[in-house]
Amino acid sequence: MQSKTKIIKANSNRFNRPKNTSDRIFATVVLIISIATFIIIAYPLWFVIIASISNSDLVNLGKVTFWPRDIRLYGYQQIAKDARIWSGYANTIFYVVAGTALNMVVTMPAAYALSRKTFKARNKVMLYFVFTMFFSGGLVPTYMTVNALGLISTRTIFIIFMALNTFNLIIARTFIENSIPDELYEAAVLDGCSHFYFFIKIVIPLSKAVISVLILYYGVYHWNDYFNALLFNSKSEFEPLQIVLRRILLLNEAFSSGTGVMGGYAQSSADQVKYAVIIVSTLPILCVYPFIQKYFEKGVMIGAVKG
């Protein structure tokens, strides 16, 4: 073992050490490109953060570039007073939790059933699902269907409209198929184990990785979704956060707290409120991000071997 590690180390050293001028130039170019990429990706995010706490007059004059200047929290104070944002927040959290729970309850059992090689109908059922990835009724017939079901402007539609994503179903099926050996099921059957029992007691605990990935995918989808709300909802009390954001950020609707947007001071501060709104609405996802990063890399890999 020891000697093997040594050899690997020696190899990688040989590989790492810049041997000649061309390698040194190459390493420099890689470094420069990677730093440039980092700046291009990170700077807009950083700028939004510093702009949200700086004096917005200085921001508009282009005086705030790298560090916050003349720190003030006006934007955050305005948000704290704005009832629409908090109701949007509450709605979104409800849709994310309920919607993702339903997603998992629909996706995982179906994925398990489709992963059984003894299940003769599975290819036909799979086709039934996969076909919808490539062909759809389109926007208007979908709207008419939801309308006919009486689900327009209800909370229900937010939760059930995307109850299953076929791509995620494939990810889960592939994972179960590849990571849970058939022998395990055969042994369980000999002990009198049913599909239900096997699914609950064996498959779910062994599928933690793919379950985390799907919760992430579905959760982020529900959190970021505004299209369904735009299409199917017209009641302001059911509006999710993204629709509220759209009103404030893109349609420039005045803040509920006041008429202040008219004045010069408030006009310049309106931008600061925008920056603050961006931070407040994106923060929850960025907070869980470090914990889930290792999972989603795995998830992309599972998805990559799709059938």
């Binding site: 062909f135 017939p141 006919a148 079901l149 179903l169 599909h195 505004y226 709104v277 960025l286 989603f296």
Partner: protein, 303 residues
């Protein structure tokens, strides 16, 4: 009969587990497909969903003859083509660069950072564009003006000429990192002996990248390219709709946003269905053609 009974004994549990998914797909995917006939009928409120008078291709003709037909088709194609041509190589290059970074910590920091934008919602992304590229005081506008990429009076957000670059580049900014994951994974599985062999033959690092790394990820590249090509008319509604304004509409009105504005907003249900169906059919044909070509040339396909 006994056969059926035996089958059900073995499989009823599996069917029960599939049932919610089957019902969901039936109601929200197959019922709307049945509703496509709306495109061939006059919608009437009293006759209901599919009870209107059959009018054949009337609404398709109305679309083909309208002046929006050429505009929406052209915009959709241009946006997709630009997204694929510029947007597709970006994550590949990024993955190859990341793979070449030897400093572990820097590599980790860079990877973590480039994935973040993927989790930003499209509403927030478009708002960020709006504030960062604002005509007055947008920090990126000022930078671009300083280096003379845009003119002093150009309104980046409200100009038909800047719409496509803005759409494509912001898309790259958002999803380049995420899309690179799959290539990074493919690169990490390259046998290191290959590098050693190549080094012994006198290759420098750039040459090993071209002759080992690139061929290693080529199959992945081809598969993803096919999938992208099959989606050529499927430009995302979300972002374009939010980026639209009266100044850039000439470049930003695509088929999907047009369907929304005529079909839902102005309640021309039959006309909207017809335009939507046209889009779906074109996409489907594209997918089948690319899949066929891919199967013939590379032996790998989707179906």
């Amino acid at each position: 009969m006994a056969k059926i009974k035996r089958y059900l004994e073995h499989n009823w549990q599996l069917w029960l587990m599939l049932l919610p998914a089957i019902i969901y797909i039936f109601v929200f995917c197959y019922v709307p497909m049945y509703g496509i006939q709306l495109a061939f009928r006059d919608y009437s409120f009293s006759a209901g969903f599919t009870g209107g008078k059959f009018v054949g291709m009337k609404y398709f003709m109305q679309y083909f003859h309208s002046n929006m037909f050429f505009t929406t088709l052209k915009n959709t194609f241009l946006i997709s083509a630009a997204s694929i041509i510029v947007g597709f190589p970006a994550p590949i290059i990024l993955a190859m660069i990341i793979n070449q970074i030897r400093h572990k910590k820097w590599k980790k920091i860079l990877q973590t950072t480039v994935y973040i934008p993927y989790f930003i919602s499209v509403v927030v992304l478009v708002s960020m564009l709006n504030v960062l590229l604002a005509q007055n005081g947008g920090v990126i506008t000022q930078f671009l003006r300083a280096i003379h990429i845009v003119g002093q009076n150009t309104n980046v957000l409200g100009d038909a000429r800047t719409f496509i670059p803005l759409y494509v580049l912001s898309g790259i900014w958002q999803s380049m990192g995420w899309n690179s994951i799959i290539f990074i994974a493919a690169l990490s599985s390259v046998d290191t002996q290959l590098y050693d062999a190549c080094r012994i033959d006198g290759a420098n690092r750039f040459q090993t990248m071209i002759h080992i790394d690139f061929p290693a990820i080529l199959p992945t590249i081809i598969i993803l390219l096919i999938m992208n090509m099959g989606n050529i008319l499927n430009v995302g509604f979300d972002k374009i709709y939010l980026m639209q304004n009266s100044l850039n509409l000439g470049a930003s009105q695509v088929i999907s946003t047009y369907v929304y504005s005529v079909g839902i907003k102005s309640s021309q249900f039959s006309f909207g269905s017809a335009v939507g169906l046209f889009n779906t059919v074109i996409n489907f044909i594209f997918l089948i053609i690319t899949n066929k070509i891919a199967k013939k040339t590379t032996g790998t396909g989707l179906m």
